[in-house]
């Protein structure tokens, strides 16, 4: 930036420029900044754009020319890949399974977490700090530490491959973060509100249901989005506890297809687009909550 300022000094004519040139000059001076921004945006947008464009091209076209050729006529767009993918064993079913795994897992986690978060924020009891420190510690424990024992329990009880197994597992793995986040949100609510409710004779159930939950709606909303996306996008938990079960979610189906096709995997672009369509819609519609969830989860908010 300093170099540019120096260069401008050399090029600048001696007499004052007419006023109409000043915005132009400012734009030119800021051009390197804008170029950097555009390059960064391109690096982050082009890969996804390429995949989406390719998913609407025929497999033959994908092999003959890059996706960018379809940006100019003749584009030759087609839904072939989508037809093929939806007729491929397990894909349509996998999409449904993903929904049937994600929605209950999210509901179970967030309800259990909000109860515990309320108690950690607004009740005093022996062991409270100890339990909470354990929860903070569990935030960083890799779930890989738990795969073998939990898989064995699931296998022994016949739960492996069922929805119940992954609902329970996701709940167990997700709770530490959610209790942590919601406890911070609920703990930040004004004490006076709870005290005046208490004077009016409210018990904990009504304080939780009529004060803590409604006042934490923004935090709960961002948490729900966060958990929903986390479970929807999960590969490891489902792959370990479901393997090749007909109940496996779309991430597992797509992964197994990609790793088993040596060549000719290109039509799976459509499967990838299907897999990411729901998260992208959720994200674009609720970006503000999503961002708030991330910033409050990592930075004390």
């Amino acid at each position: 930036m300093t170099e540019l300022a120096g260069g401008k000094a050399v090029l600048a004519p001696a007499r004052p420029r007419p006023a109409f040139l000043r915005p132009l000059e400012r734009t030119l001076r800021r051009l390197p900044l804008h170029l950097t921004v555009w390059v960064v945006m391109a690096i982050w947008l082009i890969p996804t754009l390429g995949l989406i464009v390719n998913s609407f091209r025929s497999v033959a076209d994908m092999g003959n020319a890059g996706w960018w050729t379809s940006l100019f006529p003749p584009a030759g767009l087609t839904l072939e890949s989508y037809e093929q993918v939806l007729n491929t064993e397990g894909v349509a079913n996998g999409f449904l399974n993903s929904l049937l795994i994600t929605v209950p897992a999210t509901v179970i986690q967030v309800t259990i977490a909000s109860m515990a978060a309320y108690a950690f924020a607004w009740m005093r009891f022996p062991g409270r700090d100890f339990f909470f420190i354990v929860i903070v510690g569990l935030l960083v424990v890799p779930i890989q530490m738990t795969l073998v024992p939990v898989l064995r329990v699931f296998a022994a009880t016949g739960l492996a491959g069922t929805f119940l197994a992954v609902w329970l597992a996701h709940t167990g793995y997700g709770l530490p973060f959610q209790v942590y986040l919601l406890r911070n949100a609920m703990g930040g609510l004004p004490r006076e509100v709870f005290e005046s409710a208490e004077i009016d004779g409210a018990n904990h159930v009504s304080k939780f249901w009529q004060i803590a939950v409604p006042m934490s709606v923004p935090a709960i909303a961002s948490l729900v989005i966060f958990v929903f996306l986390g479970v929807w996008n999960d590969l490891l938990v489902a792959l370990t506890y479901m393997g090749s079960s007909p109940n496996r979610p779309l991430t597992v189906v797509v992964t197994q297809l990609v790793t088993s096709f040596g060549g000719g995997w290109q039509f799976l672009t459509a499967a990838a687009v299907l897999q990411m369509s729901l998260p992208l819609v959720v994200f674009l519609a609720l970006q503000r909550y999503f961002v708030r969830g991330i910033t409050s989860g990592s930075v004390k908010g």
Binding site: P142, L168, V273
Partner: protein, 323 residues
């Protein structure tokens, strides 16, 4: 209707009802007791579901894994440190360990520094939120989909044929030969790590940007008046002020780097010397069926994370004192 749908609907509706019933019923039971006993027991009613989930799915399995790591393939006999000896002598696991260290250093470094630079640069433009959305976009995309996205970027055809991969076509127009990015041993690990960076930088950027907005503009203006240039501002004022945030982001990224599984699993299945420890662990379970060795890999991951665990708890305690 499909049984699975019924089960899922039952869970969505049933679980909150059961929990509400549980709370109401326990209130009834507590009502029969004296007031001090009530006060003593009530909190546990509220935390028991969450604490038991955490115990059953995280605490007990973690302890169990430590024990299993000293046992044989099917956990029938103790074998001492055999599984650890295997981990630290076998070329495959050592290779995976080396690659995980590469992830740890380069993934974390580039995400934190990249996130910081992008946040600072985007802070100066009017279309900031649009630009941020672009970098943020990969965040809701699963690692599986991101890997397929990048499979097309890295696509390789032999020299002389049409390059359909974005990267090889681009370097082709500049006159270079195509590179088999995911096979070539000097490019494949950087390529995989870059996919990780691409997915995670938006996360770092958003958090850093939020803290950046809190830095007083007057402070920066004063430094500018004193003749500091933009680089000095970044290195001597902005970065030190953002230090606590950068530590939080770096901690998160170190954990992400150690746990990385999906990207190598989908893009290379760990072949061509791109394996990482989390995929090794999975492969010991799913391919080799050796629970002892899988558990030993888990314990190595846990030990690597213990410093962060201590750091996290300390930071939490410090925050609590401010509260």
């Amino acid at each position: 209707m499909d049984d699975r749908i019924l089960t899922a609907v039952a869970a969505v509706v049933g679980v909150p009802i059961v929990l509400a019933g549980y709370l109401i019923l326990s209130e009834r039971l507590l009502g029969a007791l004296s007031a001090p006993v009530q006060q003593r027991l009530r909190p546990y009613v509220w935390v028991v579901p969450a604490v038991s989930f955490a115990t059953v799915f995280m605490v007990l399995p973690t302890l169990n894994t430590v024990v299993l790591s000293f046992m044989d393939r099917k956990s029938e006999a103790f074998v001492g440190f055999d599984n650890y000896v295997f981990f630290f002598t076998n070329p495959d696991t050592l290779g995976a360990l080396k690659n995980s260290l590469l992830w740890l250093v380069f993934f974390t470094g580039f995400v934190v520094i990249g996130g910081l630079l992008i946040a600072v640069i985007f802070d100066r433009i009017r279309y900031e939120s649009l630009a941020k959305t672009a970098v943020f976009l990969p965040l809701p995309i699963s690692a599986v989909a991101a890997s397929i996205i990048w499979k097309f970027m890295f696509e390789y055809q032999p020299p002389g044929t049409v390059q359909t991969g974005t990267l090889n076509a681009s370097i082709g127009t500049l006159g270079f030969d195509p590179i088999p990015w995911l096979i070539n041993s000097t490019t494949n690990n950087p390529a995989l790590i870059f996919v990780g960076i691409w997915t995670a930088t938006g996360f770092a950027m958003v958090i850093i940007s939020a803290s950046l907005k809190a830095i007083s503009g007057e402070l920066l203006e004063a430094a500018r008046m004193d003749g500091a240039n933009e680089l000095q501002l970044l290195l001597l004022i902005t970065t030190p002020l953002l230090y606590p945030t950068l530590t939080v982001v770096a901690t998160t990224m170190v954990i992400t780097a150690l746990k990385v599984f999906d990207i190598p699993y989908v893009l290379t299945s760990g072949a061509y010397d791109t394996d990482v420890i989390a995929r090794q662990l999975f492969s010991q379970i799913a391919d080799a069926g050796h629970y002892g060795r899988a558990s030993a890999v888990g314990v190595v991951m846990l030990i690597a994370i213990i410093p962060l665990l201590v750091l996290n708890i300390r930071r939490f305690r410090a925050q609590e004192e401010i509260r």
